[in-house]
Structures are given as structure tokens and as C-alpha cells.
Amino acid sequence: MTLEARSISVDYGKRRVLHGVTFMARPGAVTAIVGPNGSGKSTLLGAVSGDLPHEGTVSLGGRDVARMPIWQVAAQRAVLPQASRLAFDFTVLEVVRLGLQSGRSGDRADIPMRALARVGLAHYAARTFQELSGGEAQRVMLARVLAQVWEPVDQGEARWLLLDEPVSSLDIAHQLQVMQIARDFASAGGGVVAVMHDLNLTALFADEVTVLSEGEIIAAGTPGAVMTDAILSRAYGCALKVSTPPARNIPYILPHAAAS
């Protein structure tokens, strides 16, 4: 169940923002898409998730997503948008239950509460979604997405989580919590694609990193191979210093203090 996006181009009006990029992700791994603002990260995810009209094909396990029935796609992959607006006073639990609507029926009634517990918000179940803070709302939406693809592997096929900046409005503890959830989903055999801003968090949790710059992929591979001074400095257009402490082979990235 590899996720493949081949020769993806996206235009906003007359401006082309993605130039025929080919992107791949495998189940069992967290694949991060990084790059500066406006490099096309979210656009790539939007094309992969089918939100944006695009050239090129997206396939799941070799099958063209555009030709699959919409309910089948929904049973196979869930998408967490950057921000969510909700109409009407649904409770937190009702919002998470919406995620259950797709996919097959059966004894799944307890999944929403377990998904809420997974993001640490089970005690908020009866609250109105509208009264949550931005970070809490984002975690509830993650719970909804988790409920949609609760088992990372279903009937021998990997399911997918597509996350657009899943930690953007979270404090550091919840950033770690959410990334750990993504990590666990991948470890259990599912696939995760996440658009990320935080390079250190990416180095810590991603198995594969794709670096975008000006609508093109300039590097893809393991964090150790991709997150180098040269590649990152080129992508972000500023001097960045990557270090790797010998104890754990995980790079961390520091900006070169230009002032000093």
C-alpha cells in the first residue's frame, strides 16, 4: 500500500506553485514534508488528498485514487486539515463520532472515546467544540481523524494519515504527544505523511524527509541523509547548522546567529 504521487503540478490562477513533483511514502514510516513558507508543502498535501485540482496521478497501493469510490478512499486514508471551522454546537464526542461515518459498520461504538483518550481529552467529551482553545480543537480533530482509520492496518492493507501541520498550535508537551501518536500509527503498520515546520521535531520523529523549495523537491531520504547544512540552508535561504550528538544519531538544527 505505497502512496505515490507522480508528476504533480498545481496552478493557482496562472502561477504554477508545484512543478511536476513526484513524491512517495511507504507504510510503516512517518514521512515528513518540510520547506519554507510558500514552498508548496501544503499544496502538495492538498493535491495528494484530492482537495486541489492538479495534474499528475495519486495512487494508493497502485490504484489511482481519482478512480476509486469516495467512500473507499475515506476508509483507506484520513486527512487532518491545518485549521477546522465547525458549524453548529456539536459536542467534542459528536465531532469525533463524525469520523466514524465512513468505513464499515460493526462494533465500533467505543472507538470515539478511545480516540479522545488517545489525545488526552476524554474528560472533554461532553463539552461544546466551539468553546475549546485552538490547541484543544486541533487535538479533537486529530481524534476524529484517528477514529476514521482506527486500525492502522485493515484486512492486510495499510491505512494512511495525512496531517497538515499537526502541531502548529500546540505547546511542546502536546507537540511530542501528537508526534508520538503519528509514530505509533506508523510503527503499527500504517502510513503517515505530515507537513512539518519544526525541523527538530521532524528529525526526532520522521523516518523519511522530503524537502521542498519553490515548488520542487530538492532532497528526499532519511533525516540523517537529508538534513544537512547545505540542503537546509539552501532550502530555507538562511544559514543553518546541523549537529549530531554521538549518543543518539539524531540531528538537531540551530540557526547561525547572524548577529554574533
Binding site: 473507499q72 477546522s84 453548529f88 454546537d89 456539536f90 465512513s102 479522545l116 467529551a125
Partner: protein, 355 residues
């Protein structure tokens, strides 16, 4: 995480309450129907008729006419129109993701009004054969065609490349409403006194013209439209999170929008055609139900149909009773009762209503 091993109990379930409400509202509908058969200008009482049924005494000619030709069709029409308006209101609010949306947004009201005015003012100019063919049904037929036609026009204008933009539909609806208003204004200007009186009463709405003929014409369309809308609960719930997210959850968004718009045009168009302009049912009924048991459209649509039918039947009883033996236009009753409720809802929710 410890959370995984614990068992969590879900909080009190609004959904369960909403489903129990189906039964309570069905009982309320029966109660309102009984009231509607009991009271009227003629001194014929349902209780007395039931007594005759028990003793086997035959009904008099007058009692038969009052029951079967006056009160029963009126009851059926009130129920159909009330259910149509309330279900259409709930559908529109779900589609536009806005609790203040009204079936009128899709142009039904403006179009139907224009159709009715055209029929009332210009109807006498039609070739005699055509007038005789359509006869007394000219105004309802014209109102229905106007409402249905303007909705289709709006739908066409706001659909590009197979995607319907509800925002475009809203804006185009305002423009179309202004245009229909201007044309209506010209017709009002040239209308004679009797026509003006007919127009005014049509605009206020009434169930007084109820007949089995009207019910057999408009009823099937209303029933089919409501049935179609009742299938949209799951999709409208998903749409609360936006069109993109709804699609990610496996909802065929465009098909749902088409069904919603066509069902609202059908139900509201037919309802307005046979009863004129009846306001507030479409907004107040879904709103009350959302306050009582939450916004889940799977139950909301059914409850709205039941409560809408009950309340319109009740409003009609009031319209018949307050100045008996004359009667008020029912639109006045729904506005007098509905507007304060609507204001109360707005005040209660001040600061939360977000357009």
C-alpha cells in the same frame, strides 16, 4: 499511555434523547390533528363525531361535509406545508452551515411570489382556453413554476465545473430577489384594487383554500422531497466541518448539494404554491430542536418535520379561532408567535451567532 487501558464512559447522549423525541413529537402531532378536527367555524365537534361512531349513529350530511371536505383536507395541508417548510429550513441551514439560513435563500420565495403576482395580475389576459384549462389552480401553478424556476436558475449560475458554490448562490439569490421584487413592484403598480387585495392575502399565507385536489397535486412532490431530504442527515453532519473535510470522510458532497437544493425547491415550492407566504417555521422549528437535542441532522430532520407539521396545524387552529367565524391569514399567526421566539433565541445566544 495509561489512557489506552482505561475504559471511558461516554457522557449523556443527546442523540438518544433526540430519537426518543421522535415519539413524543409524533404524539404531539396527533394531539394537534385532533384539535384541528375538533374546532372550526361550524358547530361540529370531533368528540361528538367519535361518540356517534361508537354508538353507530350515522353522520349528518353537514357533518360529513365539514369533516371530510373542509377540516380533513385543511389538516392534511397544514401538516404537509409545515413539515415541508421545517425540513427545508433544516436542510438549508445544514447546507449553508448557518443557523439563520432559510428556504428563501435558494430563491423559492422570491420566484414563487413573482409567479403568483404574475398570475393574479396578468392571469385575466391569458387566452380563454388556457384560463379555463388551469382554472382556479392558475396561482398555485404559477407560484410553483416561479419558485422552482428561480431555484434552478440560481443553481445553474452558481455551479461551475461540476462544483456548486453556496456562497455564489447566496449572493445571486439576493440579486434575483431584488430583480423579482422590482418586477413585482411594476405589477403591483398596474394592478387594480381587487388584484391588490388578492396579492396581499396571498403574501400573508392561508390554508383556507385547502382541497383534496391541491393535496393530490402538491402532496406527492412534498412527500418525495421530504423523503429525499431525510436521507441527507449523515452528509449534512459531515458538511458541518466544511466541504473538503466532508469529502475526506467519504461524503459525495456535490451529489448531496444537488439533492438538498432540489428537495428544498420541490418541498418549499409546492408548499408556498398551495398556501402562500408562511414565514418563520423554517427557521424557528429547527432552531428550537437544536437547542433541545443538538445539531445532529440524522434526527434533526425527522424531528423538524414532525414539529413543523404540528406547529403549523396548531397555528391554523388559532388562525381559525381568534376572530371566528372569520379567520386570520396563518402567516400573521406564525409571524406573531415565531418572531418573538426568534428574537428570544438571538438574545439568548448573543455573541455566538456568527455569520
Amino acid at each position: 499511555m495509561v489512557a489506552e487501558t482505561q475504559s471511558f464512559t461516554a457522557p449523556r447522549d443527546r442523540h438518544l434523547f433526540a430519537r426518543q423525541l421522535h415519539l413524543w413529537l409524533a404524539a404531539f402531532l396527533i394531539f394537534c390533528a385532533a384539535l384541528s378536527l375538533q374546532f372550526g367555524a361550524a358547530d361540529v365537534r370531533l368528540s361528538a363525531l367519535l361518540g356517534k361512531l361508537v354508538t353507530g349513529e350515522p353522520l349528518s350530511q353537514m357533518e360529513r361535509i365539514v369533516l371530510f371536505d373542509i377540516r380533513l383536507p385543511r389538516l392534511a395541508m397544514g401538516g404537509l406545508v409545515g413539515a415541508a417548510l421545517a425540513v427545508s429550513g433544516a436542510t438549508m441551514q445544514g447546507l449553508f452551515r448557518n443557523p439563520l439560513a432559510d428556504p428563501g435563500i435558494v430563491g423559492v420565495g422570491a420566484g414563487a411570489g413573482l409567479g403568483a403576482i404574475l398570475a393574479i395580475v396578468l392571469g385575466s389576459m391569458l387566452p380563454l382556453g388556457l384560463t379555463q384549462l388551469i382554472g382556479a389552480q392558475l396561482v398555485p401553478v404559477a407560484a410553483f413554476l416561479g419558485g422552482w424556476g428561480s431555484t434552478l436558475l440560481l443553481y445553474h449560475v452558481s455551479t461551475r465545473g461540476g462544483r456548486t458554490s453556496v456562497a455564489t448562490m447566496l449572493l445571486a439569490g439576493i440579486a434575483l430577489g431584488a430583480l423579482a421584487g422590482a418586477v413585482s413592484g411594476i405589477l403591483v403598480y398596474i394592478a387594480d384594487d381587487q388584484q391588490l387585495r388578492d396579492l396581499t392575502f396571498w403574501g400573508l399565507g392561508s390554508l383556507a383554500g385547502a382541497s383534496w385536489g391541491k393535496i393530490l397535486t402538491a402532496g406527492p412532490l412534498i412527500v418525495i422531497s421530504i423523503a429525499a431530504a431525510l436521507c441527507l442527515g449523515r452528509g449534512l453532519n459531515g458538511l458541518a466541518l466544511g466541504e473538503a473535510t466532508a469529502a475526506h470522510m467519504g461524503i459525495a458532497v456535490q451529489r448531496m448539494k444537488s439533492v438538498a437544493i432540489l428537495s428544498v425547491a420541490g418541498a418549499t415550492g409546492a408548499a408556498v404554491a398551495i398556501s402562500g407566504g408562511i414565514g418563520f417555521v423554517g427557521i424557528v422549528v429547527p432552531h428550537l430542536l437544536r437547542l433541545a437535542c443538538g445539531p445532529d441532522h440524522r434526527t434533526l430532520l425527522v424531528n423538524a418535520g414532525l414539529l413543523g407539521a404540528s406547529l403549523l396545524i396548531l397555528a391554523d387552529v388559532i388562525a381559525r379561532m381568534v376572530i371566528s367565524p372569520a379567520e386570520l391569514p396563518i402567516g400573521i399567526v406564525t409571524a406573531v408567535l415565531g418572531a418573538p421566539v426568534f428574537l428570544w433565541i438571538l438574545l439568548r445566544r448573543r455573541g455566538v451567532v456568527d455569520l
